[in-house]
Symmetry: C2
Subunit: 472 residues, 2 copies
């Protein structure tokens, strides 16, 4: 005879698993078992998360090996600079302050050459300036007697730190000297205050400056010689890539609308969103590119700011493509006959505008004026003309020669509401082509400015020739 | 008899100045004069620039006095921490490494509480972790003999620095621990390498950690007690402000189009551009707000991420307003009769949608569900209905009962091309109202989540009550 407990245990929960068989679900018994199950769950959850994280990291590294190279470069630079510690003469030369060289490498090493140069130059200049100023303040303080010394030093730190912090809010200072202002405060405070305890203040300032110069020199060497990544080159490629994306999205959207095909690559259609979101990275790259020496086809004073204007023009096109996209996905669908009526000219406009953008991308890529861009713009304008005519003739589809309303459906004419989406789409397309002309203008300006800069640089390189030309 | 030279000098260049009289332009004679004139020009130009710069700085300070307060706070914190240097017991306590406390204050002090807390916590945790790890590595290195010590230390630095640098590229690490990873590399390198020269390594690690804790504590005290600026509060106000701007722009644009008035405040009309460009600042604020303790009406785990969703919804409205603006400024002007026909309903749609946005702003501001928002959305929808009907009846203006083309102008009917701009405007307005409904949804979600969090916090504060409720 089974007891009550045994009976209860005789009932099992079964769950049908994929392969058709069923599995017994054993209820957990006892606290220990519960704890064990929960711990197991936690650990497997954690393991899953770690595996996901590692996979994400691996994918990132695989998709952009330059990031991995950067990490190896940082390791390399740090290891080289650590040698200073192991070599007694070098170590003694900087009075045991070799730590500052290491610190410099860690904080100034950035993925791109421009960012590293910006930090290096800011760090060196700000350290020198602050060092000299602090030695001066210390001299004044020491003249004012032991009693007032802390007050003079404290007041000078308070005033200079406040002013330097304030300057970091001013946009023009922020874009060029933000890091420098911070290092200025840092060095000034350290050197000025150390004067109170350290006897050889001048030595301290000297050591700090020389260790920082050692650190920055190592960084600049490593960043520029081992697989350098140039901010300018990155900005340039980003601009070209974004133009290609813009062109693909524009063409893809319109084609999808008129051919009703869902076969278009969704990633291609959404490409314009990259253009919308790349403002911040464009700005920081242009900022850093200004610090870079001439590299590849780019001279020292390449018109980087013009890339920001091109970016703004591209974004203004992308806003319109966003509006276009909303027409395409709108619930209010257009009549097929109207679509057919406008499809040829709309497709022509979109394909000619997108090939104009493609040509602009090519022109930026090669950094010379495209020979065919004018032709393409003309083609776009003639396609626009055609679209205008088609739009005008649209009223015939609406405007029956007979007045009887019940004949409307019989003659294949469509209600006004059903033409609205197509008309909206067409007028946004027209607006996009206006904005593309602005884009053409800004690309041409970039090419012109860059050619001008090239000439100036070429002249500066052979000044005798220029002088002779002037004397003639 | 005048000599040739005198004759030449007798000829003067005169320039007519504003008041009608003429002034003699004296040609510069001699090198000294030229240099003087050029120097004068340079100095006055420089003076002008400096004056402009100071004016800009002054305006910035006057428009946002909190920036000035922040600068004073930095000065204050630095001066307080410098006291450590002047007090012998404190100075000796940290073994002369008080410099690190100053360095900490300079680098972690940010304008907002969230950013400062993020840096402080990252710095303290990373320093502790790296310090212990470095002491461990040093122990292993010292066991492996004098010859291999530099290699073990060098290899460990290379490997850990590379891995930590790589982790900074991973988005989830970057948003939470970017600064921590840098400090980890810094502390690990310094402590591991110092092991080679410094005898009491444990003391060095201990001093570095304690000075950093002194520095961060000072910073946290000053930033939270003296006029604190909370990232969360800033994000909240930015969202409310942007909604108001969006609403003003939308209403202003449509009103300007239909009333042909140029009296609208241009700054108000362009307000939507702020919405377009505030993505980056919203993201960084939301990132920092996560670190802030409960303040004002915001609890510790306030749904800050929801603000980013609201921001994205607002931007999607702003893209449409940008397209709307291009309709308004388009060369292709619409016929007045058509404008008049649609003006009432369009104005109704725009004013009802903009008051819906205003109400949403109010709802976010007060952080509770608006009682009238449903009514306003209904109003917007009925205005849309009206616009739909007006659009439908538009075909009558186009669709004359007579077929003779020459009668078109006589009957006041307009060519199809002239209705396109208004139709486009109307359909963009319809799209905007669709997007506003999405905005309503995300604001409601924020309010709901924030109320839920409030309840959870209230429960956590009286856990006994909850336990009792569960036991019942």
């Amino acid at each position: 005879m089974a007891s009550g407990k045994e009976l209860c245990e005789g009932v099992e929960w079964r769950i049908r698993v994929v392969d058709g068989s069923s599995e017994v679900l054993v209820p957990p018994t006892g606290l220990a078992r519960k704890v064990w199950l929960r711990t197991k769950g936690l650990i497997s959850g954690l393991g899953m998360k770690v595996r996901m994280f590692l996979k994400q990291a691996w994918d990132m590294g695989a998709s952009d090996p330059r990031k991995v190279i950067h990490c190896i470069k940082v390791g390399l630079a740090l290891t080289i600079v650590s040698l200073v510690y192991f070599m007694r003469p070098l170590y003694d030369g900087v009075g045991g302050n070799a730590m500052w060289a290491i610190m410099t490498v860690v904080v100034v090493f950035e993925p791109t050459v421009g960012a590293t140069l910006y930090k290096c130059l800011n760090r060196v200049c700000a350290t020198c300036l602050a060092g000299f100023l602090a030695v001066g303040v210390h001299w004044i303080a020491s003249q004012s007697g032991d009693r007032f010394e802390p007050f003079v030093v404290g007041a000078s730190i308070f005033i200079l730190a406040s002013i330097a912090t304030f300057s970091r809010f001013i946009p023009s200072v922020k874009s060029m000297f933000d890091y420098g202002a911070m290092i200025f405060i840092l060095t000034f405070s350290i050197v000025a205050i150390s004067g109170y305890r350290v006897d050889k203040l001048f030595d301290l300032a000297h050591q700090r400056i020389s260790t920082i110069i050692i650190g920055t020199s190592f960084c600049i060497l490593v960043i520029m010689l081992v697989c350098p990544i140039w901010s300018g080159q990155e900005l340039h490629s980003l601009t070209v890539r974004n133009m290609d994306k813009l062109s693909d999205s524009l063409d893809g959207c319109v084609r999808q609308y008129f051919t009703n095909s869902n076969g278009e690559d969704d990633q291609k259609l959404q490409g314009y969103k990259c253009v919308l979101s790349s403002k911040a990275s464009e700005e920081s790259m242009a900022n850093f590119a200004r610090w870079e020496p001439s590299h590849g086809r780019f001279n020292f004073r390449h018109p980087w700011k013009q890339y920001l204007k091109i970016g703004a023009s591209m974004r203004s096109c992308a806003y319109c493509i966003e509006a276009l996209n909303s027409c395409i996905n709108s619930e209010n669908q257009a009549a097929e006959s109207i679509k057919k009526h406008l499809s040829t000219s709309c497709l022509k406009v979109s394909s000619s505008s997108s090939s104009a953008i493609k040509e602009l991308a090519e022109s930026v890529k090669k950094m010379n004026k495209s020979p065919t861009i004018e032709l393409l713009v003309e083609e776009m304008n003639s396609a626009l003309e055609e679209l205008h005519n088609d739009l005008k003739s649209l009223s015939h589809l609406l405007n029956p020669s007979t007045t009887a309303e019940n004949q409307i459906s019989a003659t294949g004419l469509v209600p006004f509401m059903e033409i609205i989406p197509v008309v909206t789409l067409a007028s946004i397309l027209i607006e996009i082509s206006v904005r593309i002309e602005a884009l053409v203008g800004s690309v041409e300006e970039l090419v012109k400015e860059s050619e001008m800069k090239d000439k100036i640089v070429a002249k500066e390189e052979k000044p005798e020739g220029t002088m002779k030309a002037l004397q003639r």
